[in-house]
């Protein structure tokens, strides 16, 4: 599971109002090469919840990869180094085993073989 996916997912148990961001618990993560595409990154940047992305990156132990505060979108054009770090954080870090934990209920959505299992149980729909 990429952090892009983590950024998009929330806990959708019935009645949960505050199911985002999911806390990331990573037992095993790897880095996978993804083709760099600056246009894609610029397009997706405004849709990213920055604090959630920073939180996820730190949960993987990469404390210095991204700044705490969201940079100005102009940094995407001027700061090539930042663009590459954003690319790495968003698309290359890949959680193989672990879980996503709902901040409200504590429900654990397991991640196994890189696949987050977001399906709800009978008593949650």
């Amino acid at each position: 599971m990429r952090l892009l996916t983590h950024n998009m997912l929330a806990c959708n148990i019935k009645g949960v109002t505050n199911g985002y961001p999911l806390r990331l618990e990573a037992e095993k993560w790897v880095e996978k090469e993804v083709d760099f595409n600056a246009d894609f990154l610029r397009g997706v940047f405004p849709k990213i919840e920055w604090p959630a992305l920073v939180g996820a990156v730190r949960a993987l132990g990469c404390h210095d990869l991204l700044p705490q505060d969201a940079p100005n979108p102009s940094a995407l054009d001027s700061d090539d180094d930042f663009l590459h770090r954003f690319h790495r954080a968003l698309l290359q870090l890949h959680v193989e085993e672990g879980a996503l934990v709902c901040p409200e209920t504590g429900r654990r959505f397991p991640i196994s073989k890189g696949i987050p299992n977001m399906l709800l149980h009978e008593d949650e729909v």
Binding site: R2, L9, N12, V34, N37, F40, G43
Partner: protein
């Protein structure tokens, strides 16, 4: 600039929409002035004189040769795009036309230092090698100066003809012979298909999408580098493989965790399908329910296209969260004991097509960027009257193409291509929900779980269908208008023995079978059998 566009004689409904999509992909249509999303334009098309719309020969107006080349190379159904040097009904006509074609457009391709090759092609007929040579010699009035090179010529010239023999692969008969001569501008790369064919793919399921159609879908979805494409019913990933081939980034979800996570082992799963072709793997695969998508509530406009083949219950039915009894309210939800929660497999219930399509439109309205495309298959029972109004719709979307693929006598599926042309708001979502309820009511009889399946597989059968569609009359191809052609040929062959009453019986059975196509069929018969 007009070009001759020759198609492969298959998937007839898909041919023009594919070219139009690719024209959009290669920037033929100008964006709107106010900066609003690109509303796909349409190309100018013409048919050769007396040709039926199902003919493989079309003329298309494109802005430049480069665009034409790009379109032809990426297309699945375009055999080639040609600069037409001349056409005619006889060799003399053709010669006159070619001589009349301006020299400044001919001579650059006939120079001494270039190499060339002439290919002779006849639609629907094989011509002998000797005959081909004769035809080529017949072109001696064209001042070819270059060297002949059959392997790697600089320029390829095509002499194509369609004859006036009775049966044209099920097409209504062509009125007269037509010959075309042109220079190849671009040709399709069908080598893709043997590479990607399902029989050599490691991991496939019962509903894996055929490679050709998957590539067509990716073309309709304008897959290209830098775009993010999502398939909510990913299965074995056959659609995303095509999208990834064109450089798009992909994401997929499925409710069945065995398919997305495990496959058939470490070397035979969705990931390995991408590995097999050396394609970038999907950014993300996950298990989720299209009925209860787990996206955060504020998330909007992230995908550039959603391309999928929803489960419509003929080969495989859809599932959604919650047990059958639970959703009916017959039982209270089963509370999973704490110690069993980790590997618990939640029960699922049948997911009707109507609901599934509604959820899909809702998801797409929310998650597609403006101008983004939703491409999906929608099944239709063939005895029903098919009109645009019958397809599901949504206020955020404009339907730009619906292409029929006939699957059996009973049902066919339409590939629908929709463009997001309106912003998503809560009010629109509410409006769409109401509209959907109407839609559902009108089509309740077959949209509900299992009904489509039984309509397709039931044994009850009308006699008219049987008598007309026995084995020997099976069309060679399944075009929309094939049946009229067959019936016409039947009547044509038998006509001296029968009088008009036989013909009116035929008309009557036509009326029964086709209903909506009757007008066409009847008209067709009237025009063609007056002589009897």
């Amino acid at each position: 600039m007009w070009f001759l566009c020759v198609f492969f004689h298959r998937l007839l409904d898909y041919r023009r929409p594919e070219v139009e999509s690719l024209a959009e992909l290669f920037g033929v249509f100008e964006p709107m002035e106010d900066g609003s999303p690109v509303r796909p334009g349409s190309l100018e098309w013409k048919l050769p004189q007396n040709h039926h719309v199902d003919s493989p020969f079309h003329f298309v107006n494109l802005p430049s040769e480069d665009v034409a080349r790009n379109i032809a190379r990426r297309s699945m159904l375009v055999k080639g795009i040609y600069e037409l040097w001349g056409e005619g009904t006889t060799d003399d006509d053709l010669e006159k036309a070619i001589r009349g074609f301006p020299d400044e457009r001919k001579l650059p391709y006939l120079k001494t230092e270039s190499s060339f090759r002439i290919i002779v092609d006849n639609f629907g007929k094989v011509i002998s090698f000797q005959e081909q040579n004769e035809r080529i010699r017949g072109l001696s009035y064209i001042p070819f100066k270059g060297r002949v090179d059959l392997r790697n010529p600089d320029h390829k010239f095509w002499l194509m003809e369609i004859d006036d023999y009775g049966e044209n692969n099920g097409l209504p008969p062509v009125v007269e012979r037509r010959i075309f001569f042109g220079r190849e501008v671009g040709a399709a790369d069908r080598k893709l298909l043997p590479t990607y064919q399902l029989k050599s793919r490691k991991y496939i399921g019962p509903t894996a999408m055929d490679a050709e159609i998957a590539f067509l879908m990716a073309n309709q979805g304008l897959a290209r580098p830098g775009k993010l494409i999502y398939d909510p019913f990913v299965g074995t990933g056959s659609i995303l493989v095509a999208a990834a081939h064109f450089g798009a980034m992909t994401m997929g979800a499925d409710i069945d965790i065995r398919v997305v996570r495990d496959g058939r082992g470490p070397d035979c799963n969705v990931w390995s399908n991408f590995e097999q072709y050396g394609l970038p793997k999907p950014l993300s695969l996950m298990r989720s329910d299209n009925n209860l998508p787990p996206w955060r509530s504020g998330l909007r406009e992230v995908f550039d296209a959603i391309i999928c083949d929803p489960p419509y219950g003929v080969r495989a039915g859809g599932r959604k969260s919650g047990g059958r009894k639970l959703l009916k309210g017959a039982v209270d939800p089963y509370t999973v004991p704490e110690e069993k929660r980790f590997n618990h497999i939640p029960s699922t219930a049948a997911y009707s097509l109507a609901e599934c399509v509604n959820d899909l439109l809702e998801l797409a309205a929310r998650m597609l960027v403006m101008g983004g495309r939703l491409v999906f298959f929608f099944p239709v029972l063939r005895e029903d009257v098919v009109t645009v109004a019958q397809f599901p719709d949504h206020p955020c979307f404009t339907l730009i193409a619906s292409c029929e693929q006939i699957l059996s006598l009973r049902y066919s599926r339409y590939l629908l291509t929709m463009v997001k042309t309106g912003h998503y708001t809560e009010e629109i979502s509410e409006l769409a929900r109401k509209k959907h309820l109407d839609f559902r009511e009108n089509h309740l009889k077959w949209m509900e779980e299992g009904n489509l399946h039984s309509a397709v597989f039931s044994s009850s059968d009308s006699q008219t269908t049987k008598s007309l569609f026995d084995r020997d009359s099976k069309p060679k191809y399944r075009g929309k208008y094939t049946f009229c052609g067959i019936i016409y040929n039947k009547i044509g062959g038998l006509s001296p023995k029968y009088d008009r009453s036989v013909i009116s019986t035929f008309k009557y059975s036509l009326e029964k079978i086709f209903k909506y196509k009757y007008i066409y069929a009847s008209d067709y018969l009237d025009r063609n059998i007056n002589s009897y």
